[in-house]
């Protein structure tokens, strides 16, 4: 990460895509009346949007680079806080949702922490460390929620009227 503008371009996209993915998953699960998980994903989308607003504010006055989707320097195939599309199930429980959300926050935290350690620009290192600390708070928060959430029953995905039934 070469400069503050490039870093903030990444941070903005990271939070934006995280919020969009949580909303997309909430929309998809709403169709299946999975209210508890919908509520949780909406909450996560809200938090991502708060961070998005913060990152945008910090970018005020900077000329951010316009990057194509494949030009971002993500550690994986997608921005690190976007839950993988395939990691959901229509009967998933809040425990599953929190586990997936926790994983995404950990990935976000690791992304910022890595930049804080390796960026050449001191300004980028400072801001990345600040963002990493915020993400670490979220990780702790989610771990607390997860500890208070009962794990799913063994047969959580059983469906008396499964979509795959061929009679």
């Amino acid at each position: 990460m070469n400069n503050l503008a490039e870093f903030l371009a990444h941070a903005i996209t990271l939070e934006d895509e995280s919020a969009q993915r949580f909303d997309e998953l909430a929309d998809a699960l709403e169709v299946h009346h999975n209210g508890d998980v919908v509520e949780l994903f909406r909450k996560m989308a809200h938090y991502s949007r708060l961070h998005l607003a913060d990152a945008r504010e910090r970018a005020t006055g900077l000329d951010l680079p316009r990057l194509a989707a494949w030009e971002y320097k993500w550690p994986g195939a997608e921005s690190p806080e976007a839950i993988e599309v395939f990691d959901v199930h229509y009967k998933m429980t809040p425990f599953h949702a929190l586990t997936a959300a926790l994983e995404s926050e950990k990935q976000g935290q690791a992304f910022y922490a890595h930049i804080a350690e390796t960026a050449a620009d001191p300004g980028v290192r400072t801001l990345a460390a600040e963002f990493a600390a915020e993400e670490a708070d979220h990780v702790t928060l989610l771990q607390g929620w997860l500890a208070r959430t009962p794990p799913p029953e063994d047969h959580w995905s059983e469906d008396m009227d499964p979509p795959a039934a061929v009679d």
């Binding site: 989707a69 195939a77 993988e84 599309v85 979509p163 795959a164």
Partner: protein
């Protein structure tokens, strides 16, 4: 004002199963449109029938959710009549390679300048999980084919290359930003472009989640084959999970007919008895 990917999404919420790979393809298409900055009124998405063919409704550009297997002739007609439009055709493997199989061959051959995105999950999802043309011969997941379909799967890339497609690529919906690049390159390359996207069906083929481990991006777009012989040789070594750009050809693109060189009266004289 710059359009963002979200600007190309409609207010209609997808009804795909949670976890469906097509969500990522929709996102890739909208990101590609944003990258290309195509005005919304200058783009169209034409589809056939199937889960993935619902995609026009989820975009804010012009759309036509047409009939089973007939998306390509409709998209071809649209592009011929309105060459100024950026035309996408989208659908699944059953729609494109079985019901619309013959249209696929001739769309490659005509080489009209449009981009065909096939979301390939090797199953008929909308009708509850039957074997499709790209299903492996030994797949026993459907009660309709309890011992597997028993026929060799259709090879879309080989067929496209044989029939004359000018741009051939394969992506994986688990690597959506790379799919964006493939779509952008497909649109920019003249002629008929095929982008096969391996897009898991988590309901009827949940084992396809493992494609994350089996796909490998070994066809770098910058070193795509420019002649068919090299491309065919690459395909002989392909395990079906290589992603990237296979081929960028230079075949003549179907264009607007030449301007008339004679009037109707002059032509009629030639037929006078």
């Amino acid at each position: 004002m710059m359009l963002k990917a979200q600007d190309y999404k409609s207010d209609v919420k997808p009804v795909w199963c949670p976890g469906c790979g097509d969500f990522a393809v929709l996102s890739a298409i909208t990101k590609a449109l944003a990258e290309l900055q195509v005005p919304r009124e200058d783009a169209a998405v034409v589809s056939g029938i199937g889960c993935s063919s619902r995609i026009p409704a989820y975009t804010s550009v012009y759309g036509f959710h047409s009939i089973h297997g007939r998306a390509l002739p409709i998209a071809t007609g649209l592009k011929a009549a309105r060459p100024d439009l950026t035309v996408f055709c989208a659908g699944g493997d059953g729609d494109g390679f079985s019901i619309g199989g013959n249209h696929f061959i001739h769309a490659c051959r005509r080489n009209v300048d449009l981009t065909y995105i096939v979301m390939d999950n090797e199953v008929y999802g909308m009708t509850k999980g039957q074997a499709s043309p790209t299903t492996d011969a030994a797949w026993t997941g459907s009660k309709l084919t309890p011992e597997g379909p028993g026929v060799a799967p259709f090879r879309p890339l080989e067929m496209a290359l044989s029939a004359g497609a000018n741009f051939i690529a394969r992506g994986f919906s688990g690597d959506p930003n790379f799919v964006v690049r493939l779509i952008v390159e497909a649109v920019r390359h003249p002629g008929f472009s095929l982008v096969q996207v391996l897009s898991p069906c988590v309901t009827f083929r949940p084992e396809q989640r493992a494609w994350k481990e089996t796909t490998h991006a070994d066809w770098a777009p910058e070193s795509a084959c420019t002649n068919r012989r090299d491309a065919f040789l690459k395909l002989l070594d392909d395990d079906g999970f290589t992603t990237g750009v296979l081929y960028k050809g230079n075949n003549p693109v179907f264009g607007k007919p030449q301007a008339a060189t004679a009037t109707l009266e002059e032509l009629e004289k030639g037929f006078a008895l």
